[in-house]
């Protein structure tokens, strides 16, 4: 009886609340708004909502982290060490970091789906454009977020970003100083990126996200494309409304359950990874005077870093400045130049080609960036005797020269050393000592000249060592005569 009473009491509170707010009169129609019956394609619709769910997770974990993170250039690193040292702090950091990756992946996949399906066409052009804004804002969050880790890589990322901005014509110097928040990395630098990451970019995201979602409701979610059913702006709205009338299903719960299942899968994976793999390790402290640093971007920018490293040198400034600009222009122009016509990717086969190219570029250059063949391996140890083959004499001395003169940092021998220059494991098979001597003296685009920087004795030892690098060991006399 009393249970009945309390239930009635709760109901009366709800009725009062609903009466004075009118919540049910807009929330219920909103939840139950009709969406196209997507049939076999229904699972393609979960990408946008999953991006939104992960964004909410990022807000929650971000607030949790901000409650302990100290956005001070001198103390951020210690506060992160503290957070990572607590059991749950480490998990929250992990979720936030994997969430960042998930955001980038999901928003990318969502954009690819919308592009392949031609869903950016009339009347959803603004949906695409707000989405493009959100894509760049998410990338901005990813960059500033990595920076807030404020370890050595964080500090050098700011310097590299400033140097890249410095290439801009006319305002380059000013832009670089603006990014550094002064003449050097210092007290003001981190605060600026903290404000960007925590207030400014999220505020813009909220704005564009609200607009984006409003447009989804206003224009309706796009129906799966069909070959031979082009978009005609004159008739589309009437046709779409008729389609919803004929075979629309209520978003809640007919479509929403898939969003829930996929969202749970994504967030569940993030949490499991956060617990098992943990957050990204902190590097050395953010001390710009520690010069033992090889800063690398996170995976989502690794492809861009790799691209900048392999393009011809003369084009570098153009790519740094015009590359991102061109990307924005192309993405913005897309719905404006192609607002109608066929939506089906089977009638726009080049769309598959473009997507395949983008995915290939990110995968290929991302892998290349991980390997970073252009970076010398400055921690390469001296070649062990097992590789050199002897512990005394010119060959052993030459192996020492090979390490001491920095050759090994760029040239690999039997698995030791860098891969910036050619592998010299079998150098003796490919070049004569005279050819080697010429190269060592003259240098090349990517190799310094050692003219005046190597003694005759060192050179003769080095040549003896290099000549001994053969598939089949040469008779000992030939190497030593060659060296002479």
């Amino acid at each position: 009886m009393s249970e009945n009473n309390s239930l009635r009491f709760l109901k009366s509170i709800w009725r009062w609340f609903d009466d004075v707010t009118g919540v049910s009169s807009w929330l219920i129609p909103l939840a139950k708004h009709p969406v196209p019956h997507a049939r076999k394609s229904a699972w393609f619709y979960v990408l946008g909502s999953a991006t939104l769910f992960v964004f909410i997770v990022q807000i929650v974990t971000g607030i949790a982290l901000a409650s302990a993170y100290v956005p001070s250039a001198g103390q951020a690193y210690q506060s992160l060490t503290f957070i990572s040292g607590t059991r749950f702090g480490s998990i929250v950091r992990g979720i936030h970091a994997f969430g960042a990756s998930a955001m980038v992946i999901l928003i990318g996949l969502h954009a690819i789906r919308v592009y392949l399906w031609g869903s950016y066409k009339y009347p959803r052009q603004m949906g695409w454009l707000t989405g493009v804004a959100l894509l760049f804002l998410v990338l901005g969050m990813a960059f500033t977020g990595q920076l807030l880790r404020w370890d050595q890589t964080g500090v050098w990322s700011v310097v590299i970003a400033a140097e890249q901005a410095g290439r801009t014509p006319f305002i380059g110097h000013w832009l670089a100083r603006f990014i550094l928040a002064g003449d050097t990395v210092g007290g003001a630098t981190l605060s600026r990126f903290f404000a960007l990451h925590v207030f400014f970019i999220p505020a813009l995201i909220f704005f564009f996200l609200g607009f984006h979602l409003y447009l989804v409701i206003r224009n309706g979610i796009s129906e799966p494309p069909q070959v031979g059913r082009p978009v005609d702006p004159q008739t589309y709205r009437a046709w779409y409304s008729d389609l919803l009338h004929r075979e629309g299903v209520p978003f809640w719960p007919d479509a929403a359950w898939r969003d829930a299942v996929f969202g749970l899968l994504v967030i569940g994976t993030m949490v499991v990874l956060a617990i098992t793999v943990g957050p990204p390790a902190l590097g050395r402290p953010p001390d710009p005077s520690i010069i033992q640093a090889s800063p690398r971007p996170e995976w989502y920018f690794l492809w861009y870093y790799a691209l900048l490293s392999v393009i011809p040198r003369w084009s570098e400034t153009y790519v740094i400045i015009l590359g991102p600009l061109l990307l924005v222009v192309v993405l913005v122009l897309l719905p404006l130049v192609a607002p109608k016509g066929e939506r089906s990717p089977f009638k726009r086969q080049w769309a598959f080609g473009i997507v395949a190219f983008i995915v290939w570029m990110i995968a290929y250059f991302g892998t290349l960036g991980r390997l970073a063949p252009w970076s010398p391996r400055m921690n390469a140890p001296p070649l062990p005797a097992s590789v050199v083959g002897t512990t005394s004499g010119p060959i052993a001395e030459g192996a020492k020269v090979f390490h001491d003169k920095g050759c090994e940092f760029c040239h690999m021998i039997s698995g030791y050393g860098g891969i910036r220059g050619p592998d010299l494991t079998y150098a003796g098979d490919r070049m004569t000592p005279a050819q080697m001597e010429t190269r060592i003296y003259s240098g090349a685009t990517n190799m310094p000249s050692y003219n005046g920087n190597i003694t005759p004795q060192q050179l003769s030892d080095l040549l003896a060592f290099l000549a001994s690098r053969r598939r089949r060991p040469a008779p000992p006399t030939s190497a030593s005569t060659a060296a002479k």
Binding site: G74, W156, V159, G187, N453
Partner: protein
């Protein structure tokens, strides 16, 4: 009541003018408010701290051997109290004679990564893209577009001092 309606209908034209004036006034007042708040905010954000360049002592004259190139750390020109270790800067310092020194910026002129001095090879090498500089700072190979920047050095009262300078930014020559 009736007089109100009459007046309204009598002067529909003045209403129109009045409303146009009021909407313009509202928009104008709003813009003024936005501007007086935005100007100091944007000015603060864009305004860069002008810092004096100061000489920083990096060691005693006797700490440095003629011919050797060593890494020295010093505080930047105007460390903020909360800057912690980020206020530190570094340079490669070489003593070339009894009283002469050269100080190289550690920043590669390509993208600013910290270059390392290889004493046995007599070269500076950058770990990012393999830029190499000769001992005098000239580009030996790789992507750097110009020689390593040098900082002014002086010896005063037996102390070696470097002029703490801004991070060198390679800009395009136009």
């Amino acid at each position: 009541m009736t007089t109100d309606i009459e007046r309204a209908s009598e002067c529909a034209a003045c209403d129109e003018t009045r409303r146009r004036f009021l909407s313009r006034l509202t928009l104008m007042l709003g813009s003024i408010v936005a501007a007086i708040v935005a100007i100091p905010c944007v000015g603060f954000l864009l305004g860069l701290r002008k810092v004096p360049r100061v000489w920083r002592t990096v060691g005693k004259l006797n700490d440095f051997q003629v011919g050797s190139t060593v890494n020295v750390a010093f505080l930047d020109s105007s460390p903020l109290p909360w800057a912690g270790v980020t206020a530190r800067s570094a340079a490669w310092l070489r003593r070339i004679s009894r009283s002469d020194f050269i100080a190289f910026s550690v920043n590669c002129t390509h993208l600013g990564c910290p270059v390392r001095w290889l004493p046995t090879a007599n070269l500076f090498m950058c770990p990012c893209h393999g830029g190499v500089y000769y001992a005098n700072g000239d580009v030996a190979s790789g992507p750097p577009p110009r020689p390593l920047r040098r900082y002014p050095v002086r010896v005063q009262n037996d102390e070696v001092q470097i002029l703490a300078s801004p991070v060198p930014i390679t800009t395009e020559k136009i």
